[in-house]
Symmetry: C2
Subunit: 769 residues, 2 copies
């Protein structure tokens, strides 16, 4: 068991590394040549331009103004200064509300910490149970519930505190849910016109031998929504095309690289090998090779584009249907269209840039099968990951290392090294495991068939949370003690699990304190340094960038990464809630995490991240629910722990807590959740009416006509995309073959040109989260 001194060493180590990161960041960010790494958001907004254009050569790269180094922590107040309304305007509601999760942590835990230190710590400290026992204990344990003798009346304090903490947490959660729901409504109401406000995604259009998908969709909605239907866009299966375009881009990068190399050293034409990664195969002239390859790919792209546009088989049984009013779209999105609920499935269309195109064609039946397969796969993933973690942690145990590698003994016995190993290694081992996980989970979610990036990220976040709960939290608690007290542990029944974990909880406090410092302090400080984007930007800048536009593309602003970030925060909520009653000394460490992370991420959101989508804080119900899961877990574990302390009469008193908490969850769900999933007709009607008054002559059809075109058709070469659009228009004028329906009105021939702003190709990014 780690002593107070070990914790001290670990704390010092982590504080120093965190400070080092911050100082490095403070210096690096002042260098003009890093400007695009640390302020990409402003470049993307067009409010900042390269500082390299003017001034002396040296000052292009290095900041020589010594005064700016003196105020190296200046970014902190800067980050905090922007008011929330401006932040929403600057970075979107998603980002602003994401920051509020950290604020929520502070709001919940600051009063809890104060109360715990005022009441629980003295109550725990003024005992000498541990001193009397022959157990090996540290100073930290003296502050914990372990120091209270079994059967003591003092446990009633913990019980009252458990009630107080639960009530406070629920109160804050309730206020916050209401606030964010109203922020969302305000955001939606004050937002500018967006195509997704008028558009519904229709999936599983049934096959029809007589009509094309486009005709079928048009007729169906003209019949069933006669007063509201405006226009629609079919979805083309452009996955192959997207791949080809991506390939072309890669080739272009290589060509640029070699051209730059040649221009820097014109004496020698660069060569490459044709095989895998240029490692083997025949040696050829690189520039000629890639020029030829690019030409070949362009040909393929043209052919494929031709095929996708003309082949009816390339049209998926899905469409984006737009309505004349928001009211019409709200009605269509919230109702069932056809007798068979697996056909003509309607749902709000996501923002155009939020659509995850490859999943639009998955049929309904395969969806449930996919969910089943992924559920089973996820189960196995979650429970087989436990084995390596347990092994690593048992190795990180000092005695374990000494036994398995006795020659290391002299080194390990050194006081400082001992502290580092005990304080650092278990946390870092766990962290390493988790790095590879998010991509797998995102892949799982993609297989499940969600059609928007935001939904994919939310789903992955749920998976990641469960994984962390089982492996990081429970895994660390049980596996750790399992290797310590192996015998008593096997063959225990499900009934005793809260008891067993509850008992182990106080013993693992030091481990989790270390974990918080490594992951929460140093890790967050490392986040602001952006080491990986820094290196990659400079590599790209050196090897690939020729024009200002290339430099623009070399920037990788990244985004918050909800699917990994939020579950990480939830782990801190869980730790805070579980240890609030048991070992309150852990709370300040959690508080530091929330405070530091709030400042860091506020800075990043203002200066760096460029959100891939705007979901209007649709993730909040998940956040709320998971904090409550943490709360219920903490209550169950406390029940388990107290039932072993010869204080069995506390169990029924505590039993009311999870019941009330779960009820509170359902109450909030009824009260607020619909704000995040539905669009009230009153709101829609209000916005419609306002718009009709303000812009009576709006050409909505022109605005919506091409809003939902696969991003690959909107690539860099705009001529081609316009061409395709023209072809589509022609196609939509082909009269129906079915005689009886000839009299349904055809869409207006006029197609406006005011297409909404072109979204970036977004799903590349999503693949690699």
């Amino acid at each position: 068991m780690a002593t107070l001194a070990d914790i001290g060493v670990s704390a010092a180590f982590n504080i120093i590394s965190a400070l080092a990161f911050l100082v490095a960041f403070a210096i690096l960010r002042l260098q003009p040549f890093n400007d695009r790494v640390y302020f990409p958001k402003w470049y993307l907004k067009g409010l900042r331009s390269s500082p390299t254009r003017d001034g002396a050569v040296l000052s292009k790269f290095v900041n020589l103004d010594y005064r700016s180094y003196l105020k190296f922590l200046n970014w902190m107040p800067d980050a905090l200064r922007m008011p929330e309304a401006e932040l929403i305007d600057h970075a979107g509601l998603d980002s602003a509300v994401y920051l509020r999760i950290y604020l929520l942590g502070l709001k919940i835990f600051v009063p809890i910490t104060l109360l715990a230190f005022a009441i629980l710590v003295p109550v725990n400290w003024t005992n000498d149970t541990l001193k009397k026992s022959d157990l090996n204990y540290s100073e930290i344990d003296k502050l914990s519930i372990s120091n209270i003798p079994p059967g003591s009346q003092r446990f009633w304090t913990h019980l009252v505190m458990a009630y107080a903490f639960t009530l406070w947490t629920c109160y804050i959660l309730y206020k916050e849910y209401g606030l964010i729901a109203s922020m969302r409504f305000h955001f939606l109401a004050s937002e500018h016109r967006r195509p997704d406000q008028f558009t519904v995604l229709v999936r599983n259009v049934p096959p029809d031998p007589d009509e094309s998908v486009s005709e079928l969709v048009e007729h169906f909605f003209l019949v069933n929504h006669p007063d509201h239907y405006l226009t629609h866009q079919v979805v083309h299966n452009a996955n192959t095309l997207a791949k080809l375009v991506k390939k072309k881009k890669k080739m272009q990068n290589w060509l640029d690289f070699y051209q730059l190399k040649y221009s820097r050293n014109p004496s020698e034409r660069p060569t490459t090998k044709t095989g895998f990664l240029g490692l083997w195969g025949a040696r050829v002239d690189a520039m000629d090779f890639y020029t030829a390859e690019i030409d070949k790919t362009i040909e393929q792209v043209t052919a494929e584009r031709e095929r996708v546009t003309n082949d009816p088989k390339a049209i998926m049984p899905a469409a984006f249907v737009s309505f004349k009013t928001r009211w019409g779209a709200a009605v269509c999105a919230q109702t069932q269209q056809s007798r068979n609920p697996t056909l003509w499935l309607t749902a709000w269309a996501s923002e155009p840039r939020d659509v995850y195109w490859p999943n639009l064609a998955i049929p309904f039946v395969s969806l449930t099968v996919r969910r089943l397969i992924i559920a089973v796969a996820f189960f196995f993933l979650t429970f087989f990951f436990m084995i390596p973690i347990a092994i690593v942690q048992s190795l990180a145990n000092l005695e374990g290392i000494e036994k398995s590698a006795p020659f290391l003994r002299p080194i390990i016995e050194m006081h400082f090294i001992k502290g580092v190993i005990q304080g650092f290694l278990p946390g870092i081992a766990l962290k390493l495991f988790l790095i590879f996980l998010p991509s797998i989970l995102m892949l799982f979610s993609k297989i499940e068939g969600f059609t928007s990036l935001s939904a994919l990220e939310r789903r992955s976040a749920s998976k990641f949370y469960i994984f962390q709960l089982v492996n990081v939290f429970l895994g660390s608690v049980i596996a750790g003690t399992a290797f310590q007290q192996l015998h008593s542990f096997i063959h225990q029944s499900a009934n005793d699990i809260p008891k067993t974990i509850g008992v182990a909880i106080p013993m693992k406090a030091t481990f989790f304190i270390t974990y918080i410092m490594v992951d929460g302090w140093a890790g967050i400080a490392g986040e602001i340094l952006r080491l990986k984007p820094l290196v990659i930007f400079h590599l790209k800048n050196f090897f690939l960038v020729k024009t200002e536009k290339d430099r623009e593309e070399a920037m990788d602003p990244g985004s918050i990464g909800f699917n990994t970030g939020e579950p990480q925060i939830q782990l801190y909520f869980l730790l805070g809630l579980v240890y609030a009653v048991v070992t309150p000394i852990l709370l300040p460490f959690v508080l530091v995490f929330f405070g530091l992370a709030y400042v860091v991420f506020r800075h990043q959101i203002i200066n760096v991240y460029n959100p891939e989508y705007e979901s209007g804080a649709a993730f909040w119900p998940d956040v709320h629910g998971r904090v409550l899961v943490g709360l219920v877990i903490s209550q169950l574990l406390l029940m388990g722990l107290l039932s072993t302390k010869e204080k069995a009469q506390t169990t029924p008193v505590l039993l009311a807590l999870p019941v009330l908490t779960i009820w509170f969850y359902y109450y909030c769900k009824n009260r607020f959740e619909s704000a995040f999933t539905k669009y009230p007709l009153q709101e829609a009607m209000m916005k419609d009416t306002l718009e009709r008054v303000r812009e009576p002559n709006l050409n909505l059809k022109g605005y919506l006509q091409n809003a939902y075109i696969h991003p690959v058709f909107k690539g860099d070469d705009d001529d081609e995309s316009v061409e395709v659009i023209d072809e589509w228009e022609k196609e939509s004028l082909v009269p129906t073959k079915r005689q009886s329906r000839r009299n349904t009105p055809l869409p207006s021939k006029y197609s406006g040109s005011s297409s909404p702003s072109l979204p970036e190709v977004v799903h590349e990014k999503a693949q690699g989260v």
Copy 2:
């Protein structure tokens, strides 16, 4: 443990009593003076009139035609002869689909029984484990899984059978769900115009200082559904009025009773006492007393009616809003209206006769609190009922009786009596307990705030099912064995529960066989006799009936009683599925139940029951789900049982079964459930279009104007109700006080007279189910 002979005695006893009931029924039904008890449905349909009007005096009461007695089982083929389409027309879809639950039982269990007897019975029989052991066993146990030695390879047969039975059950369930969904759609599509097709129930209308509820509702829907809103009716709080009307009716009954008494014996004027139930107080002339009381009550009724009609406080914050088209109503019912999801709650209005008026005014916040309270109360109810049942069952144990009352010994030791006690008593004790239960559960559901009788019955059925599962099924299995093997049972963990129950399951087969015979055979045969309605009808007929109309009212056709009937069937599904693999000898008993019950209830539905409402088989998702719950329980128990048979490797193979079954549940839910909760826009549009073509000049407003009036305003005196309606119309013409809204169109002044047929006062009946 009961021997085969005991079962024989019990079977004989139950078969004889069942036959006795059937013969009694066959004789009683032929007597003309019982005609209204056994054929009320036809009277209500106006297709049959009292046979007492013509013929000789004696033949008015007794059927003298001896030939009709010879074919006393004739009702059975008669009951089966009516085709299903005619049955739906005659009794409604609810009844027809309810019968299909019994058919479902036959479809599932006939093939399972055949397969089990062809394969499992021989496999079990050809062992001699029980003979070798020193256990006390009966012949029935030799046919069960208990007869197979631990670790035998023969268990693989049971495993394969478990898979076969699961697949077959799911297949049948899937087919049936699809069939019933399409029956429902067909029913809704072919149905005549009904007010509920156009109407939406709006609850939680927010209070407004400037406008009355009626004005507010009108303005809200004129603004937010401008093209579809037609009219609305506010809901009056007429609960006091309903009570007064009921009181008046009761007084009238007493008056009738005394008038009849006086007319039969004119020499003496009847007297009564004024106190409670006429048992004490001053003696007065009965007819004068009740005439005065009735006059007093009529005054109160008039005053209350006045108050309800004019007092704005008597108007509840709820309204029935009608739309011009089914499409408009479908849209409004399925969407969220206001930003706050707890205001302007919309849902499909139930049929007028299905509305449960007292619950219409419950505010949203109190709803979740009520649910919580009822959930806790239901938990305690469920788990405290176990204690008396366990005591009674332990007394019904022969040894228990002999010990507690040794003087009974000589009687008990008689062979016949012994069989009766062992075969009959445990079942009857359980049955007695259950008689008082449904009213409590219905009360619980009412407190939870459901607004329609059908929803109340469905909810009560869910509660009753859980209750039966815990107390009848698990309670019998565990408590019974708990009193037998007390020591080994206390202090077992949650993990071992399936194991413990699984092991006890084969031992309880004889108990459940007896239970099936008592409850399922004799009970069902007793149902057809209608003893209670028979007695009550003749009492009323003798004491109260003066006119033909009174006689009409004295009939009590009753209804199926979904809230008790369906959970009872589910118990048989559960028993059948659990014992199919373990003790297949139980299956024929279940089959007889399903067959007999099908014929009996088909007869009752055709000739007797008068449904209180028509929900269009909205209960099927519950039925489907509960059969699957039974299936999962059977799989878990089989896992538990096999894990004790030294055949641990079967557990992982069996584990896939519950996973697949639960997945199947979700698949079906996605695929079919919306057919029972939503109304697709395509269907609505189709029916609207048809109607517009067929009846272009329909005065829909007149049709809907008074459809949703509290039944108390539609009582026996039609003049008054018309008066009230007139007043309401006037009231709805009062112009709004709010200036800015003066320009919203007012409803047309014309009110048609073609109000839909007057529904009966239904909620009296519901109170007493």
